[in-house]
Amino acid sequence: MIELTGLTKRFGEVVGVDCVDLRVEEGAFVTLLGPSGCGKSTLLRMIGGFEEPTEGTISIDGRDVTDLPPNRRPVNMVFQDYALFPHMSVGRNVAYGLKVSGMARSEAAAEARKALDMVGLADRAEAMPHQLSGGQRQRVALARAIVRHPKVLLLDEPLSALDANLREQMQVELRRLHRLVGLTFIMVTHDQSEALAMSDRIVVMRDGRVVQQAAPSELYDKPADAYVAGFVGTTSFFEGEMTRTGLRAFGQTIRAPKDLAPHGRPARFGYRPEKVELRQGHVADGLTGHVDELLYRGDAVRVFVNVGDGRLAVDLQVTDRAATDGLPRPDEAVTIVIPPARLMAFGPAADKAA
């Protein structure tokens, strides 16, 4: 188990990581998610020992490792550029970590072969890194990191250097490897779909702070604030106010859970565009407006609807029927029906963060 307490990193005046407390259970696949500059990489590099925290502590299995250099931490890292040593063969790259800690050459080579076997590259041990494809290099980097049986495997944007097709394949591969070796994985990414697809738990960061940590489905369905809602998946936002009869927005009232937000105060609300219904004409208990524009996406169509002075989005699944006659046309009057359970509230309306 990894425990970060009050971990802070300041670069002069700039705060990179701001008092982060985090517990990662053994064997979990945890992702640090956030836009570039949110401090996620710095946090990972502090766990790896490449950055010295300004304040706070890092402990692994109850042992304080805050002041240990990288070579004395039970942690290994897969670097963004893989950092395979260009002058060593694949086999020697993987065996390197064993060799420097004094393991006999033949034993190290055997271990390296086992690790390479695990990533399906046992036959490329003699190859030089430059002879490998991007995906193969990625796997060698993985093998090199797991061969030492670390307590934690750190992955710094491991898939960002791969092209889109390969990326999904490697996502599967990484999940499989995680199950196989049973190590704790901590991955950094800015790609929310990657985070949702791979992790047991996602830690969303912003401006050096942890905004929310939750399982992927919980994060998607119950984002802690507008920032998370906007960053993870798509959210259509609008402003409104809770009244006794329901949620009032754009001069219309829809049904909503009574405790969604404090009554009598303007607040920000939102919903996931794929979780609502779009009906023709005016329908009671929905937000009525006019179709503005349609964006065709192959598997879905995003419909933008002008409601009052706002603009809301609805995703329609493209089935055969919808593709032929079900799609609304621009300027047509439509109503968005939001199931009350799908409504999300995000504090006072003044928060324009997302």
Binding site: G6, T8, E52
Partner: protein, 300 residues
């Protein structure tokens, strides 16, 4: 939340140790530069305010040596002559080096040939500087190879005496010796110019000459400035070539300094001269650095 509470003593010590070990790498070079570069410049300063009482240098604190340098027309003349020769050398080297580098980068298609021709210019750097200066002395002398060749070819009757022991011979020799320092930075600068810029310029209907003046030359400027500064500084401080091929009117400032430390045994004056030269060169280098950076901004 830890509000900047002081770290425990043990952890501070651990951190200090990590930092110390890192600085162990630094200590030999740092020590070396302080003892053998920084301190010598200081001792030079010390000597420059001492007094010379032939054949000794006597501790003192006075600026008489500097006053001499700046008031005695003898030193002003040497300085101006050195300035002139160094400028001429840099100019000649530039006129030869630029077309050569341009040819390599834009006209030679095969990378093998380009490397070979580049090495052809840089390789003489590996051949003794002294010998390269010496061979010009054997060529240009009154009974030297050029004169005897011209006579045996029937082109002249009497050996030309204007070839050696004058400023032209010095410019020629120094240009020959330092030209690689001009080619290298210009080549590097030209090589960095993306070919797409030339194509774009041609696309916009610019001719060869106007492409050269509007695109190539401005982008090559940092290299030209670097090469010019380098060649200038090196020839400015040379005293070997003047002694070999320069005549009585060929004395350059470094030669004067060498004399003060040698036959004249006036170390204080020599130190003051050397420091004046050092300051002049430092000003030149920092000015050219600034110019270069302005130039480089254009390709950023």
């Amino acid at each position: 939340m830890s509000l900047a509470e002081p770290l425990p003593e043990a952890r501070l010590r651990a951190r200090r140790w990590t930092a110390m070990r890192r600085y162990l790498v630094l200590s030999p070079p740092l020590l070396w530069t302080v003892v053998f570069m920084f301190v010598p410049y200081l001792t030079l300063v010390v000597y420059s305010v001492w007094r010379a009482e032939f054949p000794l240098a006597v501790p003192d604190f006075q600026f008489g040596n500097y006053v001499t340098i700046f008031t005695d027309p003898q030193y002003r003349n040497v300085f101006l002559r050195t300035l002139k020769i160094a400028s001429l050398v840099s100019l000649c080297a530039l006129l030869l080096a630029f077309p050569y580098a341009y040819f390599l980068v834009f006209r030679v298609r095969s990378p093998g040939w380009r490397l070979a021709l580049y090495m052809a210019v840089v390789a003489p750097l590996w051949v003794s500087y002294l010998l390269r200066a010496y061979t010009w002395k054997t060529i240009l002398g009154t009974n030297g190879i050029l004169n005897s060749f011209l006579i045996s070819a029937g082109l002249i009757d009497e050996p030309l005496t204007v070839l050696l022991y004058n400023q032209a011979a010095m410019v020629l020799t120094l240009t020959y010796v330092f030209i690689p320092f001009m080619v290298m930075p210009i080549y590097a600068a030209l090589e960095k110019i993306p070919p797409s810029l030339h194509e774009a310029s041609a696309d916009l209907g610019e001719g060869h000459l106007s492409t050269f003046f509007k695109v190539t030359l401005p982008l090559a400027m940092p290299g030209v400035i670097a090469g010019f500064t380098m060649t200038f500084c090196l020839s400015f401080g040379d005293f070997i070539a003047p002694m070999l091929v320069g005549g009585p009117d060929g004395q350059m400032i470094a030669g004067v300094i060498a004399t003060q430390f040698g036959a004249a045994l006036n170390w204080p004056l020599g130190s003051a001269l050397a420091l004046t030269m050092l300051v002049f060169i430092l000003v030149l280098i920092s000015a050219s650095d600034r110019l270069e950076r302005v130039g480089q901004g254009r390709l950023a």
